[in-house]
Symmetry: none
Subunit: 101 residues, 2 copies
Amino acid sequence: TQQLLSETSPEAPKARPWRVTTADRSVRKGIMAHSLKDLLNKVRDTLILADKPFFLVLEEDGTTVETEEYFQALADDAVFMVLQKGQKWQPPSEQGTRYQL
Amino acid sequence: TQQLLSETSPEAPKARPWRVTTADRSVRKGIMAHSLKDLLNKVRDTLILADKPFFLVLEEDGTTVETEEYFQALADDAVFMVLQKGQKWQPPSEQGTRYQL
């Protein structure tokens, strides 16, 4: 992995593994990203969101993550949820017991 | 992150990630801030409060946070609530079960 890391500039944050779920928690994917922008791009590709606008919130409490600064400060175990227009964050318990953690 | 930190003076408190919610708990955003003044400015910009006066309380029990000293002593997991004129802190249970954690 040393070679991969050295491709980025020395100051660039190291890519970290993130978990991203859809709004209904039916799909959950692991995605590597070194920045919020990087994650947004990969989420778009991975979850096939095409050109529909979306944003990322924290799965645990719906906190919107929209700055690189805040993204970099997140703990390694943060789980994201993708929300598209009209979708709203809901706590896990209201979506049945299937995905309770 | 070393470079980011060195932009502030050595004595300046390090920026920390905070979560800030609106009075009705419908919006929750992640914001980095190194001081109460910094957070107030960013809350104004992020939540588009324009020139309406507001203040910050702790989301868990409505404690008003108005001094830098108290702000710096807060734990990393503190969640703020923005209150504007006429708005009052309410415990989560009185706003339905939607945002109970």
